[in-house]
């Protein structure tokens, strides 16, 4: 139950952060490509890689294992899960395709995929330097 509550709070904060970041980027780039969602998914993928790796270091600083696990849940499943979004990226690609901009739709889909995998790998890698 506590896990569920932490995931909900983390998810709410993550979704709010996504809304702010996406809004700021949209205000600057109102072209065809959904840069806001792209940047959110890339930065969130880096962070989840980082958090999921760094999590094990919490116990080194005397944090009990069960508390460390709850912190990990709040940060990864909650915060990063709520911050990043698959559905928005997908529907944006569908909308681009519907409006005949197939190249942008494909660039959005494959570009997000490639760069988020690289970002998550980078996050795991950077976290690994401290573990």
């Amino acid at each position: 139950m506590l896990e569920l509550l932490l995931v909900a709070v983390g998810g709410g904060l993550g979704a709010a952060a996504r809304f702010v970041v996406d809004g700021e980027i949209r205000a600057r780039h109102n072209g065809g490509f959904p840069w806001g969602t792209f940047v959110v998914n890339v930065t969130g993928s880096f962070l989840i890689g980082l958090f999921s790796t760094l999590f094990s270091t919490l116990t080194w600083y005397g944090v009990p294992a069960d508390v460390a696990r709850l912190v990990q849940f709040a940060l990864t499943v909650g915060l990063c899960g709520g911050y990043t979004t698959f559905s928005t990226a997908t529907v944006e690609s569908v909308r681009l395709a519907q409006s005949g901009r197939l190249r942008l739709a494909l660039a959005n889909t494959l570009g997000t995929l490639l760069v988020t995998v690289l970002a998550a790998t980078a996050g795991v890698g950077v976290g690994g330097l401290f573990v």
Copy 2:
């Protein structure tokens, strides 16, 4: 400010729903493939396609346009955004690849991509039947 609050509440509820759905699926399929995240992203992509299309029908029932817009924000950016997750899907693919299960990693990445796009298209299509 109200938009941000609605996105946060919707995102929190979405993240909690993801946690429950993912947990139920994990309890049944504890094999190598991350079915939980897959199902969450596919169903969330269908729902965001549906909600973003049905949104325009709210005003037909006398809902003021600005209220309809807030409902749309809460359901798409908030609920669906918090329910689906890009970062978990990405990091699960990275973990599969790290453990040498490259085929499963690729199947997860490309399979999620393909099926979520189909699901969002289906959602837009089903919504379009009522618009």
